[in-house]
Symmetry: C2
Subunit: 112 residues, 2 copies
């Protein structure tokens, strides 16, 4: 069974970019929404909204309040979560592909 | 002379996160602002505003219109740029550190 969040929870996790170095996911949900268990590789996350969330990992959970505009590091982990606030969640995840070094080609984009 | 944008153009490029895998820059400017020549490693960029920009590379330039909410790939390059629109620019850059594979530790953040 895949634990890729784009497969386990496709209504919430959309792949918006991918190459050999990274995959970028856009996460959205509404108050009360809950994900099923899934796995993240080491990722950078950037919050686009302010939200409140309960994170379940194994038998424990913890609640987090996330402000919009926060850059965070999500170390590789398996978990699931629930929107326990009254606002929508909107987050960008930049997943790092392990062991991919060097440079990659692709279309050039601004800004400079 | 350093070509690190956080050093060449510190009024525009702020380091908002860094570990051994990535460095995250937040870029902001206003209409008419221009950067000096600087260098980016392979980076993911995410636009937080809609803006218009002239990108200079060597002896040539090109103009780009960037919508808010765009995820793009910026391959390693040296350039400088100018806000030629009438809106502020706001962009997040996730710089990838070359050759860093494996996993990293750090504080866990949501959402799940």
């Amino acid at each position: 069974m895949s634990l890729d969040p784009a497969e386990t929870n496709p209504d919430h996790y959309k792949v918006v970019f991918e190459n050999d170095r990274v995959r970028v996911l856009e996460y959205t949900d509404s108050p009360g929404d809950k994900t099923t268990v899934h796995e993240h590789p080491d990722s950078v996350m950037y919050t686009l909204s302010t939200f409140r969330r309960r994170l379940y990992s194994g038998d424990s959970h913890r609640d987090v309040d996330m402000p919009a505009g926060l850059t965070g590091w999500l170390p590789a982990q398996q978990h699931y979560g629930e929107n326990i606030g009254d606002t929508e969640s909107h987050v960008i995840f930049v997943e790092l592909k392990a062991g991919a070094g060097g440079t990659s080609d692709g279309p050039a984009l601004g800004p400079a």
